[in-house]
Subunit: 200 residues, 2 copies
């Protein structure tokens, strides 16, 4: 009964995370019945964002520049690199104000059962970045989930031959928690009490 | 830290129903990191839908035509009108296959505390539609929620002077339930066992 354009809209709304077919239908009706102007603004905002926002060529966080503001900031410590799973984690750590180095944003975490290996996550590019010897310490700030821990362990092994200290954010992050939802104080504790992994 | 365009996208995603700021941020990151092509398709789908889909000038359901296919269908019973709260309810009833009359779609339900009265819900247009005397029976199929019941009661009063039978879908619809989530069999029961309200 619904038109093809309606069905197409419902189908495309399902690309959003955690949106099933009933929610997508509800969203489509809401936009068409109650938010027609807002809907056009949303469409424009999506298009503008995709056209202007992309990954930083150095750290892979999101930026409107070729290289992001954090990577360009010469006042930040260039010897310490914080590895995270998502730009949302960069935002959370910046918000906590407890880190003044730079970041490297992976494309999520390793998930072998889903076919997501080191290549898909962007680990080769991280290793390449480490190869010039400028970075002295890597802080592994992947999520405290099973997958985040596994990704951190993988990175410890992958960096074992490099002349670099490797640390893991401390267990201030609650077990099973996702970094972007942790409060600033806890993030501060976790960064302050990070544990050295490869030095006695 | 996020760019203005990113913040604008997050703000516009919050126009979607049940989307708070954390979910909107998650959606924006998902689109930009994992669904860039899909995001542009979504934007296009929204724009196309808003440009081509609008309310039927007769029944207020959604259509790409001036008058919708149901209103145009001369094989349907023109003497029975089913009043619902949303186009989603038209879809649910059509899917149940238990109604062959026509529809009138209100703009939701009465909600005096939110300033939503008969005018906002579109009741004057319904009464105008009833004034030509063609319709013999009105089936009130607003939701079985407190607001839907109140809207049905209001309509019974508003139509009391009209030479028209008024019925309410039967209590096959579970108490507190919203019509669009009810299965076809239950909807069929509710339509079949509807109770007459103004005739002894
Ligand atoms: Zn960067
Ligand atoms: Zn119509």
């Amino acid at each position: 009964m619904y038109s093809d354009r309606f069905s197409f809209l419902v189908q495309k709304l399902r690309l959003l995370p955690s949106v099933g077919s009933k929610s997508a239908q509800r969203m489509a009706l809401h936009l068409l019945m109650r938010q027609r102007v807002g809907a056009l603004e949303l469409a424009q905002a999506i298009t503008d964002a995709v056209e202007h926002i992309h990954e930083c060529s150095v750290c892979h966080s999101l930026t409107e520049l070729d290289v992001c503001e954090i990577c360009l900031d010469t006042e930040r410590d260039q010897q310490v690199l914080c590895v995270v799973e998502s730009p949302a984690d960069v935002f959370a750590i910046e918000h906590s104000g407890s880190f003044k180095g730079r970041y490297h944003v992976l494309h999520g975490h390793l998930s072998p059962l889903d076919g997501i290996g080191p290549e898909e996550v962007g680990i080769p590019h991280l290793l390449q970045r480490l190869s010039d010897g400028q970075i002295q310490e890597i802080i592994l700030a992947t999520n405290a989930t099973v997958e985040g821990q596994a990704t951190a362990h993988y990175l410890v092994e992958a960096c074992r031959q490099l002349p670099v200290r490797i640390s893991r954010i401390a267990q201030g992050v609650p077990q099973g928690g996702e970094l972007e939802y942790v409060d600033s104080h806890t993030l501060h504790q976790a960064l302050t009490h990070r544990l050295m992994l490869n030095q006695d």
